[in-house]
Subunit: 439 residues, 2 copies
């Protein structure tokens, strides 16, 4: 059941849905850190000149202005960032003297795009990015490292299986050049639409852009090749193209695919139709699909860029991937495919006998919290039945009754036992809300 958001394109979750989002974000963060990536945040705004510096005209930008702007003191025109890559490039140049390279960073933040509301796209959404940035050089092995980091992170989320796919710009470009296609960018753009519009339409688009029927068919043949080992190279060479750039790209792609699948079998599939449209990638490119939800499109994409940024003296090559967290969440929360085990963090509700004795309940709650047990005190000293209903509606598993001695009731089973607030603890699985996939 899709939810209607009160402002179109700006998703907001209920507290119990936010528990799922927090679980997803924490899992991503912990996995990125397990691989040695440092978290950073960049400011939400960049000078508009910076936002437009990569020629990203396809992304709609939100500009800022001050309601009570004072003309005399106003400064550079600012806009909200539409991704986390342009800000990373700027951050790296700003702080180059204070960072250590290769710089491994993750970044989980909201981004904004002023899309037309009727397109049903989000205008505010969370992205989770990992990138490695080198100074002047960056080892090719990072092209294998990054998708494995993302694969590890995605496999730990409460979502269907994700298949990570890779190709290489140099393969496509070398191949097109070798078979005589002149409009390389046009061909990449057309092939990028293959999943959306099908082979027939793509062939027409290629011919419209100047390719012959035969060239178009060869480009489509390349795009149908997939595999997990060096046999992809044989299939590609069998199409008859030969070029140095093609060789370089294939060496990179085969090393990536073979290395990754030797380490973790089935981790990455070569898929030669991946083109990544107009993006600024120069080598490896990645996409990923959620099994059973291919209509969502790629949930995690990225690639290698030989010069993310430059400060005139040095260049900063990088490779990275980005998860569209909000799109993923909207699907798994919308269906829903997942749910939290309760609606609030609370494990124990301490009942209140009457308002005069609220202090005794507060003291019990303090004792429980001191040992890390999430605890609330009942907001009212209503009849116990009503206090138990307060817990039940929120999925709080335990209600504590002050007395001599105190007792604690598991309201799911009805079991009630005497208990001491300085020593009792719930089973570990009841301590925090958990998130599970619905079957």
């Amino acid at each position: 059941m899709a939810r209607h958001f009160s402002l179109s394109g700006f998703p907001e979750w209920l507290p119990e849905q936010r528990l799922v989002e927090q679980h997803v974000l924490t899992t991503l963060q912990r996995t990125f850190e397990l691989h040695g990536f440092s978290g950073i945040e960049t400011r939400a705004v960049e000078p508009v000149s910076q936002l437009l510096s990569k020629g990203e005209t396809s992304k709609e930008i939100y500009l800022l202005s001050r309601l009570q702007a004072d003309q005399a003191t106003d400064d550079a025109e600012l806009g909200l960032h539409f991704d986390l890559t342009v800000p990373l490039a700027r951050y790296v140049v700003d702080n180059a003297g204070r960072l250590m390279f290769p710089f491994k960073r993750y970044q989980i933040q909201k981004v904004w795009r002023g899309e037309r509301p009727q397109d049903g796209r989000f205008r505010e959404f969370v992205q989770a990015d990992v990138d490695v940035i080198g100074q002047d050089t960056l080892g090719q092995h990072h092209d294998m490292e990054l998708p494995l980091v993302m694969g590890d992170a995605l496999s730990k989320l409460p979502i269907p299986r994700v298949i990570v796919r890779a190709s290489n710009r140099k393969v496509a470009q070398g191949f097109y050049e070798a078979i005589g296609i002149e409009d390389i960018d046009g061909a990449l753009r057309s092939i990028d639409k293959l999943d959306k519009v099908g082979e027939k339409v793509v062939a027409e688009m290629l011919v419209e852009d100047g390719a012959t029927e035969e060239q178009a068919q060869l480009a489509l043949s390349l795009a149908t090749i997939t595999g997990t080992d060096s046999s992809i190279a044989d299939q590609i060479y069998a199409l008859g193209a030969k070029s140095e750039l093609l060789d370089t790209g294939l060496n990179e792609l085969v090393a990536l695919i073979e290395g990754a699948n030797e380490l973790i079998p089935g981790s990455i599939v070569a898929d030669l139709k991946i083109a990544r449209g107009l993006d600024y990638y120069t080598g490896t490119v990645y996409e990923s699909t959620l099994v059973g939800h291919e209509d969502l499109g790629s949930v995690c994409s990225g690639g290698r860029y030989d010069s993310l940024a430059t400060d005139g003296k040095k260049t900063y090559p990088g490779v990275g991937l980005s998860i569209g967290v909000s799109r993923l969440l909207a699907r798994v929360l919308g269906e829903p495919l997942v749910e939290a085990s309760r609606k609030v963090p609370t494990a124990v509700l301490v009942a209140v006998m009457d308002e005069e004795h609220r202090g005794a309940s507060d003291k019990i709650a303090m004792n429980l919290r001191e040992r890390g047990i999430p605890t609330e005190v009942s907001p009212s000293a209503a009849k116990f039945g009503k206090q138990i209903r307060y817990a039940d509606r929120r999925g709080i598993p335990y209600v504590w009754f002050p007395g001599e001695p105190d007792s604690v009731k598991d309201i799911r089973t009805g079991d009630q036992v005497d208990a001491d607030s300085t020593s009792w603890a719930p089973p570990a699985e009841d301590l925090y809300p958990t998130v599970r996939m619905l079957s």
Copy 2:
């Protein structure tokens, strides 16, 4: 050492500083959840009409416009939120049918204010808010609960001691009315400036606004009263004022102070000079000072508002406090008062013999990560001395050498032992970066 930010008013941290920020944010989040508060996030934007609905003309608002705006489809004017209270009011009304009341929520997000750059204020900063919202009614005991939650959270942060102070609008208002001051709002505004401008100037401001010298002196006498028990009531009545509103306010304030200090001695101080300027509070008001850094002003403030929001049929009273996280961080990172034990999350760097054997190092890293140990593989197969320096510069405590058998070296002590990547683990204190206060 204050850092220069590349865009004035928009703070950004280096990776090792971000470790401190993450520690602070995680500590706040865990403590709020320990008290049963649910986390939510609201969108960054609100309709401008909503932002202006509380008459908050003192806050500078950033308006949004789309760079490629299409006049025909453009919608309501939007602005970035300048606090988390106005969005909470809107969220509660939007979702009233799906929330359970009292609604205990925390919210940690960036907010934006289009301040003049030369004021040296932040234009983007993180706030951490906790509020309890009732439907039509909200128990008075929550006025004691909320500052204790914040006090608990603040006491767990790596910062100097924070003193939470409270007063009550009804006390000030009832007192001013009783002694015949007519411009109540003006008097609250003047008293709010006491710490900044001193008694003499405040007295002049009060007289300018129509008070007599005697009334001004009485108002100042009220403002000097502080205490942690019911003796504050005696001191106030000794000034000779009498009114029903004053009685109500004093009952609330004494109940709060006595209850809190009975539960946690020294937790809250009554401080009658707290006025909270022009804010929309209707009862209890809070401020907090960082001991030794009183020049920072209040680091955590809030209060009770009898009608945060209304949807025509129901009203939503609330009480809450907000920490200005970025201001606090800028101080403790700027001095610096705190530091992380290392610059990256990594606990172990796995050395690489040569590029042909990188796969063996990758496998070792996988084994370590599988058991939760943050691990990186050396980006280059340089001489071991250089690989060790890579670890040393980042503060990574262990370097792992593949071999038969493998060995692991604590590069702080030089101790090196044979080790198996499927069973070795570092001491618990080395697993993650820790954050410590500098003495």
